[in-house]
Symmetry: C2
Subunit: 137 residues, 2 copies
């Protein structure tokens, strides 16, 4: 039996966040000690690790919920789980592309700004005037 603090240390999920996940229905209400403190089993540990992993991968809480509910029907085909992962992959790729454009633009801005006065600062000018930008965003 693990306390909430043990669980937190083992999974890297902060204590208030664990309580929050409980509130959101991601983990079920655990047993309690005589003094009303939460006591977790190994299954809870695994479930929380799953959630943590999903969140690290950027899945939303809703997506994780869906995956949990899918995983509780092991007989069904896993196209649902596959779809969630695939959709998320698409999102990730879009985000990377956006950020790369941004990186490119910030590089240009920074490299043009060599410590003169604000009056002709490239950072300010670039933000004021979209026309100075390289690509679209």
């Amino acid at each position: 039996m693990l306390t909430i603090g043990d669980l937190s240390k083992r999974t890297g999920v902060k204590v208030p966040t664990i309580r929050y996940y409980e509130q959101m229905g991601l983990i079920s209400e655990p047993d309690r000690s005589e003094g009303n403190q939460r006591r977790y089993s190994k299954a809870d540990l695994e479930r929380l690790a799953f959630i943590r992993h999903g969140r690290d991968l950027g899945l939303t809480i809703d997506a994780i919920k869906e995956l949990i509910s899918l995983s509780q029907h092991p007989d069904r085909p896993c196209v649902g789980a596959d779809r969630i992962a695939r959709e998320h992959l698409d999102d990730v790729r879009i985000k990377i592309a956006q950020l790369k454009r941004l990186e490119h633009e910030l590089e240009r801005i920074v490299s043009h700004c060599d410590g003169h006065s604000i009056e002709d600062c490239y950072v300010i000018r670039a933000l004021s005037d979209h026309g100075l930008c390289d690509g679209q965003h």
Copy 2:
């Protein structure tokens, strides 16, 4: 003189968001019509375009505020503006690196999952078991 709707159309910033920026002190309180509606000047349009542009680049509202205040002292050296852009560039690079690791992992997950049943679905298994991951995250 532009109404808030005109301003919104020209900058692509939604009407409630413009009001929100005003509240946050990013734009100053504009003149009002006789009937108490906001009327904007061309200077306001430029300022809002600046803000929009900064937000598109992922700058926080605080960072933009800082840039605006810097730009109002054109005599000072622009190291401050340069620093903000540089720090942000660092953030962006970190985020890209994270997302790439993530992309990689999702690709692996998706490609291993070919529509069998949940029981041996790679998506679920990968989330449950960090050991199946390729890299660190």
